[in-house]
């Protein structure tokens, strides 16, 4: 067993680190909250950062860093480890490094898309020009994707889409929808298909929703007689639910692992400075314990992360590990925010950008945002059921 990066990987890490230092504006690094494990403070979902992110993705595309885990044919070097290094290093700097296009759309297209389709869509994803949002959730569909109601009805060489999506992260700052819609009413899970829909198609209305952290990160999206060309159907008709499930593993390794390291470092730094100012108080002793406990959990996440990455890189099935990674990551985001609030006390309520701001104003916002982790992208309770049933073979309830 070997936990070290190869020489080449270390050199690559260094390269990414240098890139981040030169290309990530200090100002944005400070401004973005980016709470670990949360979904509401990601710069890629925020209008304020849209232009910056679009440019940054172009740079990443130019470097070839959006496709590292993929085969050469798709601009990659077949190294999910390298892709994870980019995630780790860039997210430490609160820089964008992945989005739905790279973590969901491309892996699905490469596996299930026709050559014709891939020739159209993959280049833009690889070079960072094309962005997507995920059109899965609906008002009455929470954890139960089987009950999607949006319909896509064939009409000549087009599909006509009607329905409503919600909680659509980044729909307002991206180009295309990766749409899950009902194409066959006679079956539940087997009656759904995936489509690519241009946000600018007539009949698509995108209304941002403000999240708990005060950020418009997600949207309600309405589809009124939206006509989608047949060639935008992904893979086989009625196979959409299966495609969605198959891609989960890929989504779940994009955890922004560096954000966890960053918060731990910053909080440790805060405690050190506080000690310098106030001395060796009981609060300091307590903060010291809290940080040691946090450090262990971040180290655990690190193992879960790299083991899952390594498994995927080496062709092992990792869906239980990916579920565990998602679950652990979400729960850790919550407990880190609790730790931060406990350590900061009254300063924990102060937002960023003031003279009293401590810890980048992240404690209070993290406390608000962190609750999105255990509820988003497969709630914690459901991940636990998955581990117990699929991972440990317990009978379904």
């Amino acid at each position: 067993m070997d936990f070290e990066f190869t020489e080449e990987e270390l050199a690559f890490r260094e390269e990414v680190e240098n890139f981040a230092r030169s290309e990530m504006p200090r100002e944005i690094e400070e401004k973005a909250y980016l709470w670990p494990g949360g979904y509401g403070t990601l710069p890629i979902f925020e209008k304020e950062f849209e232009e910056f992110c679009r440019n940054f993705f172009l740079k990443l595309g130019k470097k070839g860093w959006l496709s590292l885990g993929w085969p050469e044919k798709y601009g990659g070097v077949n190294s999910i480890v390298k892709q994870a290094i980019v995630d780790d290093v860039l997210s430490y700097h609160r820089a964008p490094c992945a989005h739905a296009a790279t973590s969901i759309v491309a892996p699905t297209l490469m596996r299930f898309g026709s050559d014709e389709m891939n020739n159209i869509w993959m280049p833009g994803i690889i070079n960072g020009t094309t962005s997507f949002w995920l059109g899965y959730s609906e008002p009455d569909v929470g954890s139960d994707l089987g009950s999607v109601k949006t319909t896509a009805v064939k009409d000549g060489s087009e599909y006509v889409v009607n329905g409503q999506k919600i909680w659509s992260s980044g729909a307002h700052v991206t180009d295309y929808c990766w749409l899950l819609a009902k194409t066959d009413d006679s079956s539940k899970h087997k009656g759904m298909s995936l489509f690519i829909v241009d946000n600018n198609t007539p009949g698509v209305t995108i209304k941002p929703i403000t999240n708990i952290a005060g950020i418009d990160s997600f949207n309600e999206v309405f589809f009124d007689d939206v006509r989608v060309p047949e060639k935008n159907l992904v893979g086989e008709k009625n196979n959409g639910f299966y495609y969605v499930m198959s891609a989960l593993e890929h989504e779940r390794i994009v955890i922004g692992f560096g954000t966890f390291r960053r918060i731990l470092d910053e909080l440790t730094q805060y405690v050190k400075e506080k000690k310098k100012a106030v001395g060796n108080t009981r609060e300091y002793e307590e903060a010291r314990n809290i940080i040691a406990l946090m450090a262990i959990e971040v180290e655990v996440l690190k193992s879960f992360f790299w083991r899952t990455v390594w498994m995927m890189d080496n062709g092992h099935k990792a869906n239980i590990e990916a579920s565990a990674l998602k679950l652990f990551c979400s729960e850790l985001g919550v407990s880190l925010s609790n730790s931060a609030v406990d350590i900061l006390g009254l300063y924990g309520q102060i937002d960023k950008g003031t003279k009293w701001t401590q810890f980048g104003g992240r404690a209070g916002i993290g406390y608000l945002d962190s609750i999105s982790g255990p509820i988003g992208a497969g709630a914690s309770e459901i991940q636990r059921v998955l581990i117990a049933t699929r991972g440990l073979g317990l009978p379904r309830g």
């Binding site: 954890s143 708990i212 309520q349 009293w356 608000l368 609750i371 309830g397």
Partner: protein, 377 residues
């Protein structure tokens, strides 16, 4: 032993609950939280007319003569539906110390104005260290003739920006034991040299920075005795911690009731989500958390109302309630999922209340210290 509330107390609870629900719906809460002022002067007037401003003052100050225990119940219900504003600062942080420690002249002057809703007050304790210990009081008050000159900066002073008076905790003497040189001054907020600015924050509170630059305060504005102020501050902060715990219990109950209604109605996988065992375990934990704190609060309130020493009981109530309210909102959010994560929804109001409640007047860890001391450790 009697765990029941009196008929009058139940009526008080009911009237507050109904009034706040009607007059301060969550849409208004959000509006007030977003506004600079942070409260509604109309509501303020109405609440004064209802006799709430002078709830615990005797008749002679146009008060309503309720007990301290009733005040605790009152704020519990205020927390259930949430009503932002300088009520806590005025009644608890300022009204109580004036009532209990000021001289008759000051009381006769100030208390009736509180009762009638004419003035708003707050207390300025914390400074840069953001804690409630006497050695952290660096703001100084130096005697010059019949006046004191105050210099220093106070932080996290809720509602100072709308206050008419600020009770300022200042150092009047350098003594070996830092609590022996602290005095409490009532400062008119309009006095030259007082500079107030809002601190940008994420809760529903309105914390302010209050700078004192050569602020002149007449000696007669001392509350209690010279150099004897820390005892008053400590007593007030303890009571405030207790009342805040009650407010948090109310908030936690509000959170659970909100989530409960949803869990009964929301259907997933063809069943109400409240029928899933994992969800039921969450609710049982909420119930247990809340009810486990509630009697801690009532016990401490009952002792305090009788004039007994309740430092340990208050510390226990505050330590556990802050933690539990935060946990209850975490569970509540878990029940609601994405909808509860929006600004439009009401859940975040409780989530914010749990944060501000927990961190003010000493969070869990600082209360543990007091408990350990009371156990002889």
């Amino acid at each position: 032993m009697n765990f029941a509330l009196t008929k009058e107390q139940k009526m008080l609870q009911k009237s507050i609950r109904q009034y706040i629900k009607k007059k301060c719906p969550n849409s208004l809460v959000k509006e007030l939280a977003a506004s600079e002022k942070g409260y509604s002067p109309e509501l303020w007037k109405e609440m004064a007319e209802l006799g709430w401003m002078g709830l615990v003052f005797p008749d002679e100050y146009e008060g309503s003569n309720f007990s301290f225990f009733d005040l605790v119940l009152f704020f519990e219900e205020m927390g259930y539906n949430i009503c932002p504003g300088p009520l806590f600062s005025t009644l608890v942080l300022s009204g109580l110390p004036i009532l209990n420690y000021a001289d008759n002249k000051l009381k006769s002057e100030i208390l009736p104005q509180i009762s009638t809703g004419e003035i708003i007050l707050t207390m300025a304790v914390t400074e840069e260290n953001a804690d409630y210990i006497p050695s952290s009081i660096k703001t100084s008050a130096i005697k010059e003739g019949d006046e004191y000159i105050i210099n220093g900066t106070k932080l996290f002073v809720n509602d100072a920006h709308v206050s008419d008076y600020i009770l300022c905790v200042a150092r009047t003497d350098e003594t070996p034991n830092p609590e022996d040189g602290v005095t409490l001054f009532m400062v008119n907020a309009k006095t030259p040299g007082v500079e107030i600015s809002l601190m940008k924050n994420v809760t529903l509170e309105k914390p302010c920075e209050v700078k004192f630059e050569n602020v002149k305060v007449p000696a007669k504005n001392i509350i209690g005795k010279l150099n004897n102020g820390w005892m008053i501050v400590n007593d007030t902060i303890e009571k405030a911690a207790l009342v805040k715990s009650a407010e948090m219990i109310g908030g936690a109950r509000g959170t659970m009731d909100l989530a409960l209604q949803y869990a009964k109605e929301r259907v997933q996988f063809q069943r109400p989500i409240g029928s899933f065992q994992a969800v039921q375990q969450h609710f049982a934990n909420m119930w247990l958390g809340i009810n486990g704190c509630r009697d801690l609060v009532y016990l401490a309130a009952s002792k305090t109302a009788k004039g007994e020493h309740a430092e340990k009981e208050i510390a226990m109530a505050k330590a556990r309630t802050g933690k539990i309210f935060r946990e209850v909102t975490t569970l509540g959010h878990q029940i609601f999922g994405a909808i509860g994560y929006t600004m439009e929804h009401d859940m975040h109001l409780y989530r914010r209340q749990a944060l501000s409640g927990d961190i003010t007047f000493g969070n869990t860890y600082s209360q543990l210290d007091k408990i350990a001391v009371s156990l002889g450790l």
